[in-house]
């Protein structure tokens, strides 16, 4: 069994920043990534990011992934990245079991572990929701932006939050028709810049609407939508049919952190953070000393906060292992300050409430 200092699970913005931060303090790091490509959600994002300069705002997501990977590479063998390697188990003695290349299975033991596994896309319950042609919006984004493959010809987007609206726009950039975007809420959840781009291109955004059923035998052929009342109940007689071969479900993400629950970290359902999350200190340490969480796995936010949390978790995990840099205090304050800025103002209300409920 391989034994090491610091193991990071996931190579999205949180995992990469954690690795950079820990390695710059002198720790030796192994990153496990289940995909054959590092970068997490960033690799499929072709739009300019919001946020501040420190988190590379106004760069495209794909370019941010490149910047972080280049920085990680500067540390040479202090950061090892293992691809096609899924962490499938996490046990009391800090042993993590790994499935490599879908066939090899082995154990790794680490003194300290940072879980930066990101999130998964939620689904919705409606008849025939399992038909091929119905995909998560992020999946469609991967298919078209990473592989250059069209998901189909005509798409119905369910969910008018940022992801739904951005992916709709990207579908149109790839030459795919968007029949409509719907949302059960009475107002559009996405930033207006993104939503108005769609409106200008003539895509109807139907608020107070939901998906009633999908139609098709082997694959999706059509979808029926209807209006909902103020209490989100379908209004009979308002059904409309769209002939579409693709439906994207974009109704939010949930933190992906079952590994921490398996290890026995204290968890709590916190709706403000979009699901069950580990309790943690301000330094991202869970209820188990030496086990940290960062990024979407600790609650759904954005790439900017995932990076700041990653830097903080990496710094503190390395310090816990005895790698305390001279500027430890200043760096810690800097990352805590970045997180406070990102979560300030009315947009941050929900997240701040969620942080209180998940604080240790």
């Amino acid at each position: 069994m391989r034994e090491l200092e610091l193991l990071i699970i996931g190579s999205g913005p949180a995992g990469l920043c954690a690795a950079i931060s820990a390695a710059s303090s002198g720790a030796k790091v192994l990153i496990l990534e289940r995909s054959f490509q590092p970068g997490g959600q960033l690799i499929k994002q072709t739009h300019m990011f919001f946020g501040s300069e420190r988190q590379y705002a106004s760069h495209r997501g794909v370019d941010i992934a490149d910047i972080l990977l280049r920085r990680a590479a500067e540390f040479g063998d202090r950061i090892e990245l293992m691809l096609n390697a899924t962490a499938v188990g996490f046990y009391e003695d800090n042993v993590v079991t790994v499935l490599k290349d879908e066939k090899e299975y082995f154990k790794i033991k680490a003194k300290s572990i940072i879980c930066a596994t990101g999130a998964f896309e939620k689904s919705l319950a409606f008849p025939n929701n399992d038909l091929p042609g119905i995909y998560g919006a992020g999946a469609v984004q991967t298919l078209m932006n990473v592989y250059g493959v069209r998901p189909g010809n005509r798409v119905l987007m369910v969910g008018a939050g940022n992801i739904g609206v951005i992916v709709s726009y990207q579908l149109m950039q790839a030459g795919i028709q968007v029949a409509a975007v719907l949302d059960a809420a009475p107002r559009i959840g996405a930033y207006l810049v993104h939503a108005s781009k769609l409106a200008r291109m003539g895509v109807p955004i139907l608020c107070s609407h939901t998906i009633k059923e999908a139609i098709g035998t082997d694959c999706l052929e059509a979808a029926v939508v209807c209006r909902v009342d103020q209490r989100f109940r379908p209004i009979p007689g308002t059904e409309r049919r769209f002939d579409v071969d693709v439906m994207c479900v974009s109704v939010g993400l949930s933190p992906l952190n079952e590994l921490l629950a398996m290890r026995g970290a204290a968890m709590r359902y916190v709706p403000q953070l979009s699901g069950t999350v580990p309790l943690r200190t301000v330094d991202c340490e869970t209820s188990i000393p030496g086990i940290y969480v960062a990024g979407d796995a600790s609650g759904i936010e954005e790439a900017s906060s995932a990076m700041a949390e990653g830097y903080l978790a990496g710094l503190c995990a390395a310090a816990g292992l005895g790698h305390v840099p001279e500027d430890y205090g200043a760096r810690r304050q800097e990352y805590l300050g970045q997180l406070e800025d990102l979560r300030s103002g009315p947009v941050g209300d929900r997240i701040r409430a969620g942080m209180k409920l998940s604080a240790l």
Binding site: P132, G136, Y147, P151
Partner: protein, 101 residues
């Protein structure tokens, strides 16, 4: 089903690769996943569900949901959305749980 023109992205497709899907010859490109190559060839049904045998396509495309599991070179339960295509691969629709040899 392949995108050829795009305002932001350039798709440098790698070498052409040959593989089979349920015995039928297919082509894809180096650097793409099995699920992406199949989708580009118009194949959306990758598996059948365990009990009701309903068609299954991919759902998450990041290795998280198991909806895309197929038999690859004889091995069942391979997540084809995160498995890169290789020359000569044998890909088959998976029915049920699959057998471990």
């Amino acid at each position: 089903m392949r995108i050829t023109q795009h305002p932001i992205l350039n798709f440098d497709r790698g070498k052409e690769l040959h593989f089979t899907f349920n015995g039928q010859p297919m082509t894809g490109y180096e650097g793409e996943t099995v699920a992406a190559a199949l989708h580009a060839a118009g194949v959306k049904v990758l598996a059948k569900s365990l009990n009701l045998h309903r068609p299954r396509g991919f759902y998450c495309a990041i290795g998280n949901c198991a909806s895309c599991q197929m038999i690859v070179d004889g091995a069942p339960n391979v997540r084809t959305c995160i498995t890169l295509l290789r020359e000569g691969m044998r890909v088959e629709t998976q029915e049920g749980k699959g057998k471990i040899k």
